[in-house]
Symmetry: C2
């Protein structure tokens, strides 16, 4: 995400070498209103943050991909308002030094800048979610969301050729998009008929990205220029 000085790389290498914790699908990584013990990073697998109403209606706020952080915040005693649930087998590493580093930005400017970028994107995606749920139709939501996942996967070097694993059931997708399973299914069918996507065996291929971008009015968080700027 950003160029780093040697001592910064050292910190990351340290974290990388640390033992990982492992969770199975549907395990709860973090509970609503529990205290967060220090940032963690997902090294593999997918998770999501969600909350549910008393009657069982559930809403996913955000999907967490490998490389994403859990509980990343400069605040002193961050508290989670959501549940973090594993969508697949997930491995995470603790990275307490990251919280410290962020506060002490002068010492690790590269890491601080990268964290800034992550926080900025998170805010952006959160707003995108509001936009989708508040004003877009089922078809638009799905198109927009697919492009967002594609963007994020590509940004970490996954998702070669606009095709990547999508380890979510239609039920789960429905929870993310604020729709019913049945309607998700119908919308998927439509996109398939139109030749815009292919989704089988848990793998999604975006066959007509321009059409999807247009349908969902997707805009990446950073204009191309700023991106080039941020990762020289």
């Amino acid at each position: 995400l950003h160029e780093l000085a040697d001592h910064e790389r050292g910190v990351l290498r340290l974290i990388e070498g640390r033992p990982k914790r492992s969770y199975g699908a549907d395990d709860r990584l973090l509970s609503e209103r529990s205290e967060i013990h220090g940032p963690h990073f997902i090294t593999s697998g997918w998770a999501c943050s969600m909350r549910e109403l008393k009657d069982g209606r559930r809403q996913i706020f955000n999907v967490l991909l490998p490389g994403d952080a859990i509980g990343l915040s400069i605040r002193s005693k961050p508290r989670s308002f959501t549940n973090i649930i594993a969508l697949t087998t997930v491995r995470i590493v603790d990275a307490p030094e990251i919280a410290v580093a962020w506060r002490d930005r002068a010492r690790v400017p590269g890491i601080a800048a990268a964290l800034d970028l992550m926080a900025t994107e998170e805010e952006f995606f959160s707003q995108a979610q509001i936009m989708r749920l508040g004003r877009q139709t089922a078809y638009e939501r799905m198109a927009h969301w697919f492009m967002e996942i594609d963007y994020r996967m590509a940004a970490r070097g996954l998702g070669a050729g606009s095709s990547f694993p999508l380890p979510m059931t239609q039920e789960t997708i429905a929870s993310a998009l604020g729709l019913s399973v049945v309607h998700v299914n119908r919308t998927l069918q439509q996109m398939r008929r139109e030749g815009r996507i292919e989704l089988k065996h848990g793998r999604l291929s975006l066959l007509d990205k321009p059409a999807l971008v247009a349908a969902g009015e997707f805009t990446p968080p950073m204009p191309a220029a700023a991106m080039a700027d941020a990762r020289p």
Copy 2:
């Protein structure tokens, strides 16, 4: 929001004494994708942050009340992804020292803690907005949102007796709740018929808060204990 040391009060008094900038209703305080020049605080009036789709559908992300911050962030060059629009006549003060202070938390622990609290609440309300739009019915959304505004107004000593000015047209409320004007109107009528609210001359009275809390499943961001903790 938090107890402060004397030198911290000094900073706030300095900011408070500074000349305010003034905007009229519908003025744009900040544009999408423009750089933020440093945090500002709203000293009077209401504003909102919103974005719109090409075809004119618009979604309000958040309503900004007096005392709320604009562009508050520890990130180095924060960038807004939304438009900030005045809903009424609005006055704001610049507070560049706040950004500095947040980074240098050891020097102003009280201010830092207060900012943490603000940021935490903002995150919480953003998630509440997602929950509303994704999973709640029109009636639930409105009940929940009314309670949220009430909570926020009360937290700043406005909103005596659960009655406060609501300087928004039904059109604007619709933009905030992801509904159409007509449906907002009908839902308001229903709440009035049921004796749960009164809304006239731009003033909202919550006549039956327990019912509204229950209908919207509203939960305040901080449990009572933590609040007492934060403002002794």
